[in-house]
Symmetry: C2
Subunit: 335 residues, 2 copies
């Protein structure tokens, strides 16, 4: 294996993908820090909105790795940022920062990463792609002027793909993904398919999306709640895609407070939301195929008899993740 910029960037990329869908409305970003001798000190990703960006999170981990554990007890991004600025003692001088996206250059809910990188004294910045966010861009130019050695365009295509949801949100168009859970042989029925770890991730996704689309048959048969209780989060609005309007109102999803539930025979409602997850199988795949940006397929390690999907669609795999039990594969439509 060749140990080069691509290698380090791919580690940052994979870490970013573990938080894909969980950073809304911020982009999923990954960062890796090497010290001046080239040792990896940290590989981190952007956390939930309002928490640390990937660059800050990586600086925190690197600082702990360097022996300062005080910072690990701080949980507010502003406090973490301030602590680093006051206590770095030039320990980051000579360090290289790999980041999938150009560091932000504006004070939002957290301070600008570009300022942090400059003040901490990083020597080298290696970027995947530039920030499409007009408000946040400019980090590269500012850092170049401050004398930091900068390379851009490392694994640019992959780093761009990672940003697909963010670009859509920035353009005020909905980002729509389809979640499908399968046994190893493609069977989709027969009770719980994926592990609690995977279902917890799905709940974390539900805690970020603003609309969940589901088929009427699934609602009738499974009587789901469709909340994010495994992460103690919020429940998204629900669009039940159905030609029948009458549903048993004792189905738990109707009792979740603070959500809207729509029962409609078309999918136009999606246009008025920005981050949309579709859960379903055969019928929903067919009904939504012109709308969907990405497919997220979970594969459980069990071969089981049951129903399978009969459908035709060429996909392109854009990332492959795993947890202890399941495979999580992300696809976009083939070009």
């Amino acid at each position: 294996m060749v140990i080069n910029h691509d290698f380090y960037m791919s580690l940052a990329l994979k870490e970013a993908w573990t938080k894909q869908g969980l950073t809304y409305p911020n982009p999923a970003v990954g960062a890796l820090i090497c010290n001046k001798e080239g040792k990896i000190l940290a590989i981190e990703a952007t956390q939930r909105a309002g928490q640390a960006h990937a660059e800050l999170q990586a600086c925190i981990s690197a600082f702990v790795q360097m022996g300062d554990t005080t910072i690990a007890s701080l949980h507010d991004a502003n406090a973490q940022h301030a602590y680093l600025l006051n206590n770095h003692h030039h320990k980051f001088e000579g360090c290289s920062l790999y980041v999938t996206l150009e560091p932000c250059h504006h004070q939002g809910r957290t301070p600008a990463c570009s300022m942090l990188i400059e003040k901490l004294g990083f020597s080298k910045l290696i970027c995947g792609t530039l920030d499409p966010n007009q408000q946040a861009t400019g980090g590269i130019n500012a850092l170049r002027e401050s004398g930091i050695d900068i390379e851009t365009g490392i694994l640019q295509e992959e780093c761009e793909t990672l940003l697909t949801p963010f670009r859509k949100w920035q353009n005020n168009t909905p980002f729509i993904f389809f979640k499908l859970a399968l046994f190893a042989n493609g069977v989709y029925d027969g009770g719980l398919i994926t592990s609690k770890e995977s279902r917890t991730y799905v709940h974390a996704l539900r805690n970020n999306i603003d609309l969940l689309v589901i088929g009427g048959e699934t609602v009738r048969v499974d009587r789901p709640t469709l909340d994010s209780r495994l992460v103690g989060g919020k429940a998204p609005d629900i669009l039940i895609f159905s030609h029948e309007k009458e549903f048993d109102q004792t189905i738990p999803l109707f009792a979740v407070p603070g959500r809207k539930v729509f029962i409609e025979d078309n999918l136009d409602r999606i246009k008025s939301y920005r981050f949309v997850m579709i859960e379903g199988t055969q019928k929903m795949l067919e009904a939504t195929q012109t709308l969907v940006d990405w497919y997220c397929i979970f594969y459980a390690p069990t071969i089981q008899t049951g129903k399978t999907i009969q459908f035709n669609k060429d996909l392109k795999r854009i990332q492959l993740l795993e947890n202890k039990h399941d495979i999580i594969a992300w696809f976009q439509k083939a070009q």
Copy 2:
């Protein structure tokens, strides 16, 4: 992500798995070298039998990384070994070597890795598991006596699993794996499923196995050659599992020179081989389920209508790999 011994060992492990099945009769082994400052210099795996072991291959890559490109032009393991011993100039002093398996301690077709590690002056050796091969073991003890700092048992379970085929070969029992190629929704028919890169890997596997088991129906319908032409390798013996004895002798597999073809209604023949691949789908899965050690499932990024497997089996995923097009997931039976 925590950057620790497990992190480095997992990189060595994944690299070893890219050569799983291609090192017969040697074990699949991965190695990673960090310099004294902790920078990763090389991540490599054991090559084909008679070629470099993982440790040697990693030393070669590290040496190139350090600026000596002469060694890259040598292709014989003995010559590579000798070159390193004569030209290392103490460049490996202070380096750490992560290796999934205890380094071999005997002169086989290639010189002992333990001697190389000692002579090159490595400071630290981090091992996954100990060598079950009575002939090759002793590397750890010898290196400990020479004063190298040694840690063992890092990701031991995963490193043991990696060795499953080798342990079977050492015990003179067959290692048997089932190769299954599926579309993303589990469909297995409808022409070529996987990419040329995946098929090249399957040919490399065929170049290593000594018996390929296949169903009679597949032979009749697909009229396969079942050789390893994509890697210019040898063709394995074939066991056609079939209740019917008569096959059209113009089917290409019968014309491949130097192979035996058996047509039998039972699978007893497998016992007299050591490295066996089964290619098939539903019927072969059913017929071989008590025999199979591992399943290797390829998933192509296409959803397509067609036949799917109806079968019940709990599996445990032991490794997840990918190439540009396909997912390659290895499973063992669930415990």
